[in-house]
Each structure stands twice: as C-alpha cells, then as structure tokens.
Subunit: 358 residues, 2 copies
C-alpha cells in the first residue's frame, strides 16, 4: 500500500497492521504511535504484539538508574553520543515514576537529549506511567519490544532509582548501570546494600567534583565487601577479585582467573557533562555484554524477563476480571462487611476469588 502523502499515511495507520509495518520499516512517527498505544493499554496491542514478536530479541538493553540529581539524563545523553559515534541506532525510554500523577511529562522529552533531537537514528521517549507502578511494570517491556522490533541496536532505559523502579529496570535490562555522585550524603550509604544487588556497572558520575574520590573509594569498598557477584552460575565464586580497583580490572580478572562463571560489578568514574570516562563506561558495558553472551546468562535473563512479562499481563487480565465481577457489587458488599468488622479481608478475598477462578 502506498503511503505517498501524510493523509494516506494517517489513514493507513488506523489499521494496526499497517502501523506496525511502518514501525518495522523504521518510521519514527509510527514507532511513537505504537508506544502511545502501549501507554493507553490499547486493545490494538494484541495484534501489534503478535506482529512485532518475530522481530524482537536483537537490541542490547541497558538500564540506568540512580537517585535524583546524580546526572542520569546527562549520562544517558553521553551514552547516546558514544553509541551513535559507533554507528548504532539508539532508543531511549525515560521512565519517571516520581510523581505518578504527572508521569514523565514534567521531566519529559523537552529537557532531555536536546543535542540528539535532530538525529534520525535516535529515538527518545518519556513513558508516562498513568499513576500506578503496575502500569509501569506492564508498559515498559511492551515499549521496549516496539523499539527492539523497530531495529534500534541499543535501548537505554532510564529511571529514577527509588524503590521498585530500580528493581524493575534491573529485571528488564541486560546490563544495569547504577549511577552515584559525590555529595549525595546518607542517601548513598542507605542505598548501597540495595544497589549492590542490581548493579552490573557502578558509575560514579561528577568525578571532577570535590568528594568524588571519597565516593569512589566508598563504592569500591562496598563492592568488595559485598563480595559475591550479582549472578553466580557456579559455586566457584571467588572474592576479592579487585572489582573496581581500576576500570575493567575486575572483568579482566574474571576472564583470566575465574572463567565465565561470575561477574563482579565494575566501578567506573565519569564526568558525563564533559564526556570524561564515557569511553571507559562503554567499554565496561561491552565487557559485560560479552560476558552475558558467553556465559549464557543473557539467555537466562531474557527467559526470566519474558516470564515476568507474561505474568504481569496475566495478572492485569485477572485484575480486570475481578473488577468486572458483578459490576463490582460483590466486592462492594465484601468491603462493607470488612469495614464493619464482620469479616476479615482474607476470607473476603477467598469469597471474591471463588467467583472468578475455579
């Protein structure tokens, strides 16, 4: 079908199949439209998803997370530039759950990525979360599928590293970067234990600022203390491999001494504003990607991601079914009994479920 005019294009895009075909051919507006369908939980997504499926699984997915103020947007922009310089097409999904009512709108596309705005091989999108993290958990992997199928070689998923969001991004990404910065005070201390669990690469941003050396040493010490790799696939985990003692040394040691069994998080110093350290960061990501493939962990992570994705969709379906039950009358009556202390919520939940699932 010809899409010779803007009007013809729009008409064709009323059909999910045509829209999907345009996105697969690399049409940026079609990609944007598909992601809007995801945000809107459009019924057309089922058809779209089936058409996208055979084209997925090729993009490298890199997650970036960190507390507000550590320089995530600047770092993302720096990475986009580095990957573009290597000739790769780059997609960016920016997820901002910090205000569920405004979604990504406030920190959205306008203020990010200005320098890449005119690059046709870069696609940046803030994902609005419509007020619930369930929505985010559900929508982000679907938006990722769109960019993956549309042929972006690298997809950066950027999210504010607070609470569930950082876990979600780690579950979604092949490689998870956790950003830190000097002068963030107790927040870093408090976050460390959690960060160690999800980081493949720790990035100390603003490395040209006072206190950066202190932060760097802190993080390196924390990595050493944590000792165990993020994902151990053999019992021969070795500790004290010098993770982060210098950029890249940990991975090199793993390759030389420990074989492919373990990955110890690397710690990389970066000043994203000036670009200092970005090549080293990209190199660390590539080492991790190489390890992911060689060790078989990439496959395991993607299987797990798909399993989680299916479960989320299944639960969303069940939740909708619960909501429709008797037009909510049964739930309303159960809620009244619980509110009045006549029934406990567990028994109420059992009663509700008896009506929906055999």
């Amino acid at each position: 079908m010809s899409v010779g005019s803007a009007r013809a294009t729009r008409a064709a895009w009323a059909d999910p199949a045509e829209l999907t075909a345009a996105a697969l051919a690399g049409d940026r507006r079609a990609v944007a439209r598909l992601i809007s369908l995801v945000e809107d939980s459009s019924a057309a997504l089922r058809e779209v998803s089936a058409l996208l499926a055979p084209h997925t699984g090729r993009a490298r997915v890199i997650g970036l997370t960190g507390a507000p103020g550590v320089g995530k947007s600047t770092s993302t922009s720096g990475l986009v530039g580095a990957y573009r310089a290597a000739g790769l097409r780059v997609g960016v999904l920016a997820i901002d759950p910090s205000s569920p009512f405004t979604g990504g709108a406030l920190l959205g596309d306008r203020v990010r990525m200005v320098e890449h705005a005119n690059d046709p091989e870069v696609f940046v999108r803030s994902l609005a979360t419509r007020g619930n993290l369930g929505g985010l958990s559900w929508a982000t992997p679907q938006a990722l599928r769109v960019l993956d199928a549309a042929g972006f070689d690298v997809v950066l998923v950027e999210t504010v590293g607070v609470g569930q969001a950082e876990v979600d991004v780690a579950a979604l990404a092949d490689t998870t970067l956790v950003l830190l910065a000097p002068g963030m005070g107790d927040g870093i201390q408090a976050a460390k234990a959690g960060i160690m669990e999800i980081a493949d690469v720790l990035v100390v941003n603003k490395a040209d600022r006072p206190g950066a050396d202190h932060t760097y040493r802190d993080v390196v010490a924390a990595v050493r203390m944590a000792g165990r790799p993020r994902e151990s696939i053999a019992d021969t985990a070795f500790t004290g491999a010098g993770a982060g003692a210098a950029a890249g040394s940990a991975a090199a040691d793993v390759g030389a001494v420990g074989g492919l069994e373990d990955w110890h998080p690397e710690v990389i110093r970066v000043a994203a504003v000036s670009g200092q350290g970005l090549p080293e960061l990209v190199a660390a990501i590539e080492r991790h990607q190489t390890w992911l493939r060689a060790s078989g962990v990439l496959r395991r992570r993607r299987l797990r991601r798909a399993g989680e994705e299916i479960s989320q969709l299944a639960l969303a379906g069940l939740r909708a079914r619960l909501g429709r039950l008797d037009d909510g009358q049964r739930l309303a009556e159960l809620a009244r009994q619980v509110t009045d202390g006549q029934l406990d919520p567990f028994t109420a939940a059992d009663t509700l479920l008896a009506g929906v699932a055999g």
Copy 2:
C-alpha cells in the same frame, strides 16, 4: 491460660489465638510479633485476621509523606508527642521503600523516635517491604489492622513520598499530610501536581529556615490554582475559599459557607524540630477528622480502603496460583517461546490464564 513466666508466654504465643489475645490486651511484644507475621506473610495470618476483625475501625489513621529530607521523622515524632500530651495511645508505621532490599532496616527504629522509646503507650515499627511494593501494598493495611485492633487511638503511617508510595499512603489514611520544606528546589515544583491530588493538609516544615516564606506562598498559590477539593461530594464546589491563606481559614470557610460538601487542603507552617506550629497542625488534622465524620467521607474512604485491601489479597492469591501452575513448567515454556519470538506475550498470558481461571 496463665502466662505467668516469659517461657509460658512464648509457649502460648506459638498459638495464633493466644498471641492475638495478648495483642488485643495491649501486650506490646505480642503486637510486634503479629506485625512480624504480616511481614513474613505467615499462614497464621488468616486466623489472626479473623480474630482481629471485630476490634478494628476505631483508630484515626494519619498518613505522612514527602520527599527525602523534608523532616518526616521529626514531624512524626512531634505529632506523637502532641497526641501523647492529649492522652492518646499512638502507633507509628514507618515505611521505607527507598531501598527494597534493605527495607526499613537502615532507617529503622533505632534512629527514629528516640524520645518516645520508653513510653509504653507509643509503638513504633519500621515495616520492611521484602523487595516489592506489591508486598508493601499488601502488608501495610494488615499491620495497620494489628495496631488498630490493639487499641492505638492514632496510627501515623509515614512513608517516603516518591512514586507509588505516596498514593498508597493516601489510599490507606483517613487524613493525608504532605510535607514540604524550603530549599528542596525543583523537586517541589515537579511534585506539586501530584501532591495536590492526595494532600488533606500541606505542611511546610522548617518554617524557621530562609526561603520558608517563599515555599509557603508557592504552596498556597498552588492550592488556589488547583481550586478543586480533594474529594467533592456535591456539585456546589466553591473555589477561592482562601485555602491556606492562614492556618485553618479554609476549613473554617468551608464550615461557614459551603457546609460539609468540600474539603480544601489547608497549608500549615511548622518547625518540627522546635515544635513551632505543631498545635496548629494537630488542630488542622482534627478539623479534617471532624469533617470526615460529619460529611460521610470517612465511611466512603474506609469502604474504598477495604475494597482495595480485599483486591490486593485476591491478586496475591491468584499470583501464587499462577506460580504453582505445573510447578512453573508451563510458564517456563511460554517464556521460551516469547524469548525466541515464536509467541507474543499477550497470547502467552491468555494461555497461562486458561490453566488457572475458568
């Protein structure tokens, strides 16, 4: 049954009924034990919950939320002191989703509430979230039930106001306080739109700091701009009622002019460290509680809360059922097909559900 010795007490508490009876009688260690059962998703909770049910619904539930650094713990401690001075028993649930892996442990009981540590009529508990907000959504209302049934007159639920947590606390509380502080920069601006949706009382803390007047005027202006009350139960909403122009004036206006229909968020200045403004804050909360009861909104909120609670438990049950299905073999095979692009996740979810729900 006699609980004459510590050993006898512990033995009796192996029985959920005895443990619950002790908690209902006000035994603090029994209360703590019950909340641990909630955190652990113990199977004993079903029995416990049924025993607690007739004793619930009496506590005033006050939620406090706000960005890190606005002084939530100090404000909570100040409110505890104020309610204790009025002779009320106070429970505090501190929820810290900022690091899902460490839960509330790092910012836990140790550093909070030191001044109330020896008051037997105050019970403080950090709720660990075990790594997922689903867990938090599920556990917090159950922990609240324990404190409610154990006879605490006021329960303060404190949470970091980022993302979903602030929505959850608003859904749970009768009265939601949103804390702000001068010098928080863009965060406040960004958060405003969301804050207006959930706040019953806006608290400008650190009111003795430079910039506090500016923050206060900003918030008052935002409340005016938002115009509409949090929960309108009539079409006769009136705007420009001077919400926040002076502490308490909005509610007074509502009472005098608009009857019981609307609640416009009040804006209260506080310096929690010195105690300045705390009596005004307590008065604002009490005005809101009075309005809640008189308007019938309290009942509506609690019905909604119970409905959400039942739904969460039902979904948790369904999720467990999905996980048990064929020992996860069916999900694993579906995940493989999705990973390999042979199947889209929607169809996979349908297939999965066909096995669990009729």
